[in-house]
């Protein structure tokens, strides 16, 4: 079992937990993920690592309550324990040869983008961060980004905080204004990453995106997390768990990835409703 050491509510739907998992804490690097099971007979879900404290032996996860499993996870309190917690899985985000980086985070994806921004900052890289949320209520991690960014731009879709509009607006302005980035790293909803790649393409800046497909084992066994890259006109199958989760944003077939992520949408909606009812009646 893996004890929950601390739990912090970041906004009405997003929660942060620090989990005691010393081996994972010692090894994890920004960009990697873990797989957990809340309870025996629960499903395995992947979550990207939001930070570690190797000395304390804890791993930070930040998750949005979107379905049955995250609902059950959110009901757990500090002092409770998770059934299973395995990692670090996937490859760390590449940082070599980058002097100026633009980190683009969307919604709960900012939780994953944050340790990446912190790592670049630690390496002395000039960091521009653009973080976007639907509205002010959903804003998370502003202080953390502020501390590790040379420049921070906060966007809300409805204009209730920061600038109004989505994250591609300031990105395009910066690129059009002649801003030079060695790499743009986009982490958020698939549709956001798709449009970041499209916005950056005319300027030829390499774009890295972090994929979060449905997966089971996370070690290269099940093949459920496969994604398609289009490379030199050829379609190439890759597995997010062992080949990713970071990929070249220009190569990803985002439409297919979006479709595949909805494979169990009906089932998940029903399961979530049942879980909510279960807790209400309890």
């Amino acid at each position: 079992m893996y004890p929950i050491v601390r739990k912090t509510v970041l906004n009405p739907t997003v929660t942060q937990m620090e989990i005691a998992a010393p081996l994972v804490a010692k090894k994890a690097k920004p960009g990697q993920f873990i797989i957990l099971r809340v309870e025996e007979a629960g499903e395995r879900i992947p979550l990207t690592i939001a930070g570690t404290d190797p000395e304390e032996g804890t791993v930070k996860i930040i998750f949005q309550v979107v379905g049955s499993t995250t609902e059950r996870l959110n009901r757990k309190q500090a002092g409770d324990a998770l059934q299973d917690f395995v990692g670090p899985l996937g490859n760390p985000t590449e940082t070599d040869g980058i002097e100026r980086v633009c980190i683009v985070g969307g919604g709960v994806g900012c939780a994953i983008a944050m340790p990446v921004a912190q790592e670049f900052h630690r390496l002395g890289v000039k960091v521009t961060s653009i973080i976007g949320f639907r509205s002010r209520d959903l804003l998370i991690l502003e202080d953390e980004f502020s501390a590790c960014s040379d420049r921070l731009i906060v966007m809300t879709d409805d204009g209730s905080y920061g600038r109004g509009g989505n994250v591609t607006v300031p990105l395009r302005e910066l690129l059009e204004g002649g801003e030079r980035f060695d790499r743009i790293i986009a982490i958020g909803p698939l549709v956001m990453m798709k449009f970041v790649a499209a916005a950056a393409k005319p300027f030829g800046v390499p774009v890295t995106v972090s994929m979060n497909p449905i997966m089971i084992d996370g070690t290269g066994m099940c093949g459920g997390c496969r994604i398609t890259l289009v490379r030199d006109g050829k379609r190439v199958t890759k597995f997010a768990c062992v080949d990713g989760p970071d990929f070249d944003g220009y190569e990803i077939d985002f439409d297919e990835a979006m479709s595949r992520n909805r494979m169990y949408a009906d089932y998940e909606r029903r399961a979530h409703e049942e879980t909510c009812n279960l807790f209400q009646n309890a």
Partner: protein, 469 residues
């Protein structure tokens, strides 16, 4: 007394009944039948059956005990050489191993060795009192990577010799392919759990949720005090055909389909892990994994299951028994057919239609057999213009795997072959000192018993290396 020409028949659930449930298909002999079947053994001097067994079970000796109805004695003899008797009695392809060598087989059906082994193991497991006693520890530590058949065998053999063995398992449950791959109706999970419990009683420690190559590396294991490492990490990434439409929703690898059903228990009434149920299913491939997937599909409520295989029945690599079971249960074999495309549903008028992107059919082409290829089997050749569509909702690709990259990419100096399999000598030693390997990580997809044989060979070599024999 004249010898019975045929094996005593294995009682089994009726096909129409069993295709609707996940309970074990073969029900096992009763004691009387087991003794009668044992009496068919000629106890011949040259013991050809033993050489047919990858772990060299003393078959005539255990059968001799069974003739006397000394089932516990029979179990003891089997467990001297096999760490997983109840598993082997169920899933070994005896017809190509021990039973293929049986002297009786020259004229009649061979002795039902597998059925007798299963009976002895089940007899013991149902009656065993108390815990297995661990031998005196020699204080030396060995790490085993993977808790599938090769790892468990290696761990069991070393534990019996007094080694302190830790098995590292990436998943949350021990057993490897025995729990994620082979379905409940062929190998009940409780049987696997019981065999693993016996190993624990012998002192084997099992650490789940540790991915070697990620959580820890092979080199770190040596730093932690392990003196030898056995890699039994199993088969890896599932293969796909590379045809259009394989990314449609409803296309699974057999690994994913079976893992969802078995390990994640999607076969239960109200699972937390979803799986596509019902409808029409096409399974592509002809191995045991394909049979397992097709029969699982039936039990998940499929209205029709096709098995699509590019060669003919003669070349089909699955065990005969599995093929017969699948046919009896109603799997519809489309032989000499090969998929060329998977067709997805697209509603031209409504891009938000929930069905968009799901499988609607699999397009196949008919094949004929040409000249033998390098495998010695006749090469299937496409018959131009013979394409046809099978309307299906789910496609399961059961066409093999390629080795997992996690360990080789994090272990310097570990040599792999062209296909990515770990290179070992006849004792299971890799290119790294004190690092051994066996099972699918070396051979690519093969059988449970050959993996067990490799685990056994490596355990012997590890013992010799560490004890300076």
């Amino acid at each position: 007394m004249a010898i019975m020409e045929k094996k005593h028949e294995m009682p089994a659930q009726a096909p129409a009944v069993r295709a609707q449930n996940f309970n074990e298909v073969a029900l096992g002999y009763d004691a009387e039948t087991a003794v009668a079947e044992a009496q068919r053994c000629l106890n011949c001097k040259n013991r050809p059956c033993v050489s047919g067994c990858p772990v060299n079970v003393n078959i005539p000796d255990f059968i001799a005990r069974m003739k006397e109805a000394d089932f516990e004695g029979a179990y003891r003899i089997i467990s001297e050489t096999s760490s997983l008797p109840a598993v082997c009695g169920r899933v070994c392809p005896q017809e190509t191993q021990c039973e293929a060598k049986c002297t009786l087989g020259a004229k009649f059906e061979p002795v039902g060795i597998g059925r007798l082994e299963r009976f002895a193991a089940d007899w013991h497991n149902a009656r065993a009192q108390g815990r297995a006693v661990p031998p005196v520890s020699n204080g030396r530590r060995v790490a085993v990577i993977g808790s599938g058949p090769s790892g468990l065998t290696c761990a069991g053999d070393l534990a019996r010799k007094g080694y302190r063995v830790t098995v590292f398992e990436a998943l949350h449950t021990a057993g490897g392919v025995l729990v994620y791959g082979i379905p409940e109706f062929r190998l009940p999970k409780a049987i696997v759990a019981r065999e693993i419990e016996t190993l624990r009683e012998l002192g084997v420690e099992i650490e789940t949720n540790v991915v070697i190559g990620k959580t820890l590396t092979v080199d770190e294991l040596f730093g932690m005090g392990y003196e030898a490492v056995f890699i039994g990490s199993g088969a890896g990434l599932p293969s796909f055909m590379g045809i259009p439409g394989e990314s449609c929703k409803g296309v699974y690898s057999a690994n994913e389909y079976l893992t969802r059903s078995n390990l994640m228990k999607a076969y239960l009434e109200d699972p937390s892990t979803p799986i596509m149920r019902g409808g029409r299913v096409a399974v592509v491939g002809g191995g045991n994994v394909a049979m397992d997937a097709a029969r699982t599909a039936l039990r998940l409520g499929a209205e029709h299951v096709y098995l699509v295989y590019r060669r003919s029945m003669e070349e089909l690599p699955a065990r005969r028994e599995e093929v017969e079971h699948a046919q009896e249960e109603g799997v519809d074999f489309h032989l000499l057919c090969n998929p060329v495309e998977i067709l997805g549903y697209e509603n031209p008028d409504d891009p938000r239609d929930a069905k968009n992107g799901f499988v609607r059919a699999i397009r196949c082409i008919r094949m004929e057999l040409g000249e033998p290829d390098e495998s010695g089997r006749r090469r299937p050749v496409e018959m131009p213009g013979s394409e046809f569509d099978l309307p299906v909702d789910t496609v399961v690709m059961a066409i093999g795997t390629s080795p997992n990259p996690l360990i080789k990419s994090t272990t310097e100096g570990l040599e792999v072959n062209r296909r990515g399999g770990i290179v070992v000598d006849e004792a299971g030693l890799t290119s790294r000192e004190h690092v051994y390997a066996g099972g699918d990580a070396v051979t690519g997809a093969a059988t449970v018993i050959s993996a067990m044989g490799a685990g056994k060979t490596a355990a012997k070599a590890i013992d010799e290396a560490l004890s300076g024999k």
